[in-house]
């Protein structure tokens, strides 16, 4: 129990709790999950609560949703310390720590317009090498262009960067 503010959020019966999200990025996580609130699901978002590991962290709880693998990969890229708890009947039945893979394939677009991965009509998927996790730095394996955390957030959430 890290904080009294967290206690105010009621437990969920079935669903997913994503914990240890970098502070300020909970809304990005929701966007990756494609959730706006209009779906009618119970969603709890807790932001900027104290955390031993991160100093401050965000938490997202979503009733009735389990994540797809692609969503987990994307969350790892914006919240590399996140843990994903699968809840059934109010209990955590599975807990996984996201993992930033050594290479990211197909999820992101190269920022270099002259990169072969941006050529139309070519059967090629983007592929980035993860050079550093904090701060996030990816390098295109084809053209060497770099993506930073802001670029990745922008691409994965379709919105502005920063945080």
């Amino acid at each position: 129990m890290e904080s009294s503010r967290e206690l105010r959020v009621s437990k969920i019966r079935e669903g997913t709790v994503i914990d240890h999200i970098d502070a300020g990025r909970a809304l990005h996580v929701l966007r990756i999950l494609g959730l706006t609130g209009a779906e009618g699901l119970t969603i709890a978002v807790v932001m900027n609560v104290p955390s031993q590991k991160l100093g401050k962290k965000d938490i997202v709880k979503v009733e009735g949703v389990e994540l797809r693998e692609e969503q987990v990969s994307k969350i790892a890229l914006i919240a590399p310390s996140a843990t994903i708890n699968i809840i059934r009947d109010y209990a955590v039945v599975e807990k996984v720590k996201v993992r930033v893979p050594p290479a990211v394939e197909g999820l992101l677009k190269c920022v270099n317009p002259n990169c072969v991965t941006n050529m139309p009509r070519e059967p090629v998927r983007s592929r980035f090498k993860v050079v550093s996790v904090r701060p996030l730095k990816l390098v295109c394996e084809y053209c060497g262009a770099e993506l930073n955390q802001d670029d990745v957030i922008k691409q994965l959430t379709g919105g502005g960067g920063s945080a």
Binding site: N114, M119, C143
Partner: protein, 306 residues
């Protein structure tokens, strides 16, 4: 090295490059003595130049012929009508089924790597985008070794467009596989060497210094590598005119140079390297261009036969 792709100079180790240079020495003496070689008899090289090239293409073709092999060349009309024609992937598949190795030059970055993923046969990057031209770097390093007997310990100046020039970039990266004494990176600030290259030099422990004029360092250099500054890189023509004058290498600019200074240029040149340098003993660039054949012969032999 048999079966290897040649995509970027840093895919190679110093030992591999030294083995290549020794092989190139043998090719060079065979050429000088007029010995006819049959090492690659029955082998076919495909040359696919999607961007214009004279020296690189012709020297690869000559190298193949000199080894008793033959080549097929992607016709220019195929290249020019590609917008509506076949995509790169299908073209590479076709060439891969006709030839034992493919040399590709493309304006798009990463095209050679992509081609190598598709082709089963070795792919040689003959220059892609603004980044890699590995066989040029091999020739350049070989020329330094021939001219001065070594690559290690020398002071280098690399001048011109260090940001977008793939020959300069590849030469700098190639130097980092050896132990140069010092490397001066001489360019206008707009065309300075990219950070990833500088980081690479730091990782490899290469001493370098960025300089904004040749005059301040010319007296220290053993090797001066000159590259072209392209007009298209400057939105403002006045800015280009200003820069062009101060990065021009001429007899005048080489006053104060060491006697044994070796001047290299990947050619073709426009006016960044004055004709009055040609008659001096600094002018190694024609020899450098001529070495294109024996070095590429050595490379083709090593990747096709081992």
């Amino acid at each position: 090295m048999r079966g290897r792709d040649v995509l970027t100079i840093t895919d190679f180790t110093r030992q591999e490059l030294e083995a290549l240079f020794e092989e190139a020495d043998m090719m060079l003496s065979a050429l000088k003595e007029g010995r006819r070689l049959r090492v690659l008899e029955g082998y076919v090289l495909a040359t696919a130049f999607f961007e214009p090239s004279t020296r690189t293409k012709l020297s690869f073709q000559a190298a193949m012929l000199r080894l008793g092999g033959s080549y097929i060349d992607l016709p220019p009309e195929e290249v020019s009508s590609r917008a509506k024609g076949e995509n790169l992937a299908d073209t590479i598949r076709m060439l891969d089924s006709y030839a034992d190795a493919i040399v590709i030059r493309h304006r798009v970055e990463g095209a050679a790597r992509f081609a190598a993923e598709i082709a089963e046969h070795p792919v040689i990057n003959g220059g892609d985008g603004t980044r890699d031209h590995p066989t040029q770097a091999m020739i350049d390093l070989y020329t330094v070794r021939k001219a001065l007997g070594k690559i290690d310990g020398l002071t280098y100046g690399v001048l011109g467009d260090l940001k977008y020039g793939r020959a300069a970039r590849s030469f700098i990266l190639g130097l980092s596989l050896f132990k140069p004494g010092k490397v001066y990176l001489i360019s206008p600030p707009q065309l300075a060497c990219r950070r990833d290259v500088l980081e690479f030099l730091e990782e490899r422990g290469v001493e370098y210094e960025e300089a904004s004029s040749l005059a301040s360092v010319v007296g220290e250099l053993d090797v001066l590598y000159v590259t072209r500054i392209q007009r298209e890189r400057f939105p403002d023509p006045a800015e280009y005119e200003k820069v062009r004058g101060s990065y021009r290498v001429s007899l005048e600019a080489l006053k104060g140079a060491r006697e044994h200074l070796v001047v290299l240029h990947p050619l073709p040149r426009v006016d960044e390297l004055a004709f009055d340098v040609d008659a001096t003993k600094h002018a190694w660039y024609f020899t450098q261009a001529a070495f294109g054949v024996p070095v590429r012969m050595a490379l083709l032999k090593m990747i096709l036969k081992g």
